[in-house]
Amino acid sequence: MMLKPNWPRRRRSLIVLLLGLLFLGLLVGPSYQWTQSNVKSMTGRHDSQMSPIIMIPGSSATQNRFDTLVKQLNKADHRQHSLIKITVGTDDQIKITGALRPRDNEPVIVVGFQNNHDGYGNIKKQARWFSLAFKKVAAKYQFNNFKAIGHSNGGLIYTYFFEHYFNRDDITVKRIMTIGSPYNFSEANLSHKTQMLADFIKYRDNLPKSATMYSVAGTENYDSDGLVPARSVEAGKYVYQGQVKHFTEITVTGNDAQHSDLPQNQQIVTLIRTYMLDKKPSRNKRLVTANTTE
């Protein structure tokens, strides 16, 4: 007992259907453009050879903190790493100085903050500012991997950044090095965990699983670099160990092992060259490996 079609009602629905199809049809063009440009930019990033070293200085230091270190690195490995400096203001403004040299795939990018004060509250803010700067350089230099170096509180900012802000699946952090970073602030006794360390441990699941991590401590005597207790640097293992791919602790002693001298310490410059920098391009490598048994 089929009823006769009710044409006016159907006509209204068919108009809605036509509008819907028209809507879909109009979206085909923009969709095509979006996916083409999206895939193109993904391909660009995927094929990119760029692999910067991004450094964060400690508290009270500026974006110029690593000038000497970069000079020493450039001198030691005869490669002119560009030095790009970024300052993030308290109003989220980002200022970039320095430029990428042509054919340089491993620039050093230093991120400093207008508010560079100590304290957990400031570290949280600085981590957010760093995330803004990171987003900016990631868009500008189109890299798909990078290396992270943080001196003193810079390592803490990095840790907070990795746990709370870094969630990109198109960019990986290959290696992380923190130098004299006080994971438990000035507290030498590990049974007294600071709020920051407790938080770091709480969210450690978010740390990048594929990264190799080096925590470098300096000591002038048996238990401190003059400012940061060695046990506080060591507390980093409760955060990173078991979360990242490899976790290595290194203790540097001797000349220039005082906390503020660490970035200029010859030993640490060598560590950075060996562990953090990429190996030289393969055309040189072939010549080298032909003559050595390495």
Partner: protein, 438 residues
């Protein structure tokens, strides 16, 4: 063909009509209609939130909204609240409705029964924590996935009221003392229901703590999304569809798992080789089920909407279908599921399962013959079904064509079942002797 279809309909109508007239089905249907407006509002809010106001949403992506709309990053807040208190809490309304109608059929105090069921469900979904601040509810139980649980809770509450309280007369303007009397009469079933709810709640919390069941579900979905054997993908898709029409969350339910290893591997392969053909995992949930089997949400309900537009004579069908088109274009099937309803509807069980599987089969053949590459590139949230494969293949026109063919096939699959449902509606009307068409 047409005649045999007619005969089949004639034969099936009386049986299904009898089922329709059971109290059980009536309660379910009225409850779903009660939830429908909330679902409709929640769905509209959700598509605005996901497709327009999320940076990775479909409309936001293709029109680069985050770049030029002022205060874009704050605009989603009102919709967050609206969505989570309508869609993600709708099962509370379902529990209320089920208990209310159950009590009403048995002449018990329906308001108190409804409220008791709603509170009982909230108690069961309550998550106990050690911290004193902030308590949360398990959204699996009170959101759209909690429909079936809520119906059971509501039904049980109604049953308790039937057992433990006396019938009341339905007089509207009852005297205050009579209302008080009625309230005290309902105290016993209320207490029973709430105590049982507390016990179940404690049991559920203990079970979650003891067995990590929430993580198990996520782990299972992760496994399902990662599986890449052809049979497993089809089997899990069928399982998902069966579970969803009965109101549960299936293994392929999208929202919980966003990224899987097989997707990442495929994408990296495609980016490295500058081509998406011959990626390692060609037949996954992502390349087949999500790309070709979910136009208009789970069960290809966009096809049912079109089927209604072109062939239905039922006024209500047309109204529901018109309201459901926009959500369905952005792959939300909530309004159709509850408005028609498709949920718990034995008539639509077959096309709900068959249509997506047929589409997946067409796509499998097309991928197998290398007519189209598998869907490997990112697709924004809320992309209209027929465009998913087109975007995910970096704008392959044949993929768009196959999407359209799939849609047409699904309309053809849904059409006879839609006619059957309509014939039953007409028979029901004829039986009731009401020729009412408004």
């Amino acid at each position: 063909m047409r005649i045999s279809e007619q005969q089949l309909i004639q034969r099936l109508v009386p049986r299904l009509l009898r089922f329709r007239e059971t109290n059980f089905y009536r309660i379910i249907q009225r409850t779903l209609i009660l939830a429908f407006p909330l679902i409709l509002i929640g769905t509209f809010s959700q598509i605005i939130q996901q497709a327009v106001l999320t940076k990775t949403g479909f409309i936001a992506s293709i029109f680069h909204l985050s770049k030029w709309v002022p205060y874009y990053q704050y605009l989603h807040y009102p919709f967050d609240g609206l969505t989570s208190l309508t869609l993600n809490g709708v099962a509370v309304v379902v529990a209320f409705g089920a208990a209310k109608y159950h009590a009403k059929f048995n002449q018990r105090d329906d308001q108190l029964a409804g409220l008791t069921a709603a509170i009982a469900l909230l108690i069961m979904a309550y998550q106990y924590t050690n911290q004193s601040q902030g308590s949360t509810f398990n959204t699996l139980l009170i959101g759209t996935n909690g429909f079936t649980g809520a119906l059971i809770v509501g039904g049980m509450t109604g049953l308790c009221f039937k057992w433990f309280s006396k019938p009341v007369n339905g007089a509207r303007d009852a005297h205050t003392s009579e209302i008080l009397n009625r309230t005290f009469g309902s105290l016993l079933p209320m207490a029973v229901v709430l105590i049982v709810a507390v016990i179940i709640s404690l049991g559920l919390n203990w079970l979650t703590v003891a067995t990590y069941s929430a993580e198990n579900l996520v782990a299972f979905q992760k496994f399902a999304m990662t599986s890449h054997s052809l049979w497993l993908t089809f089997g899990l898709a069928a399982l998902t569809l069966v579970l969803e029409i009965f109101g549960f969350a299936g293994p392929f339910q999208e929202r919980l798992v966003t990224n899987s290893t097989s997707m990442t591997t495929n994408l990296n392969y495609a980016l490295t080789h500058h081509s998406a053909y011959h990626v390692p995992y060609r037949y996954t949930a992502n390349t087949l089920y999500h790309a070709f089997g979910t136009f208009g949400g789970t069960g290809m309900l966009l096809a049912l909407i079109i089927a209604i537009y072109i062939a239905s004579n039922n006024h209500n069908y047309h109204v529901v279908a018109r309201w459901s088109l926009l959500p369905a274009l952005f792959n939300s099937n909530g309004p159709m599921m509850t408005g028609l309803p498709v949920l718990y509807n034995p008539i639509y069980l077959i096309p709900f399962i068959i249509a997506p599987l047929v589409n997946m089969a067409v796509a499998t053949v097309a991928i197998g013959l290398n007519w189209i590459p598998p869907v490997v590139y990112p697709v924004p949230v809320g992309t209209p079904g027929p465009l998913i494969a087109f975007i995910g293949t970096n704008g392959n026109v044949i993929a768009l064509l196959i999407g359209i063919i799939d849609l047409a096939l699904s309309v053809a699959i849904y059409l006879p079942f839609m006619r059957l449902a309509e014939a039953i509606l007409n028979a029901a009307k004829a039986e009731a002797g009401v020729h009412h068409d408004a």
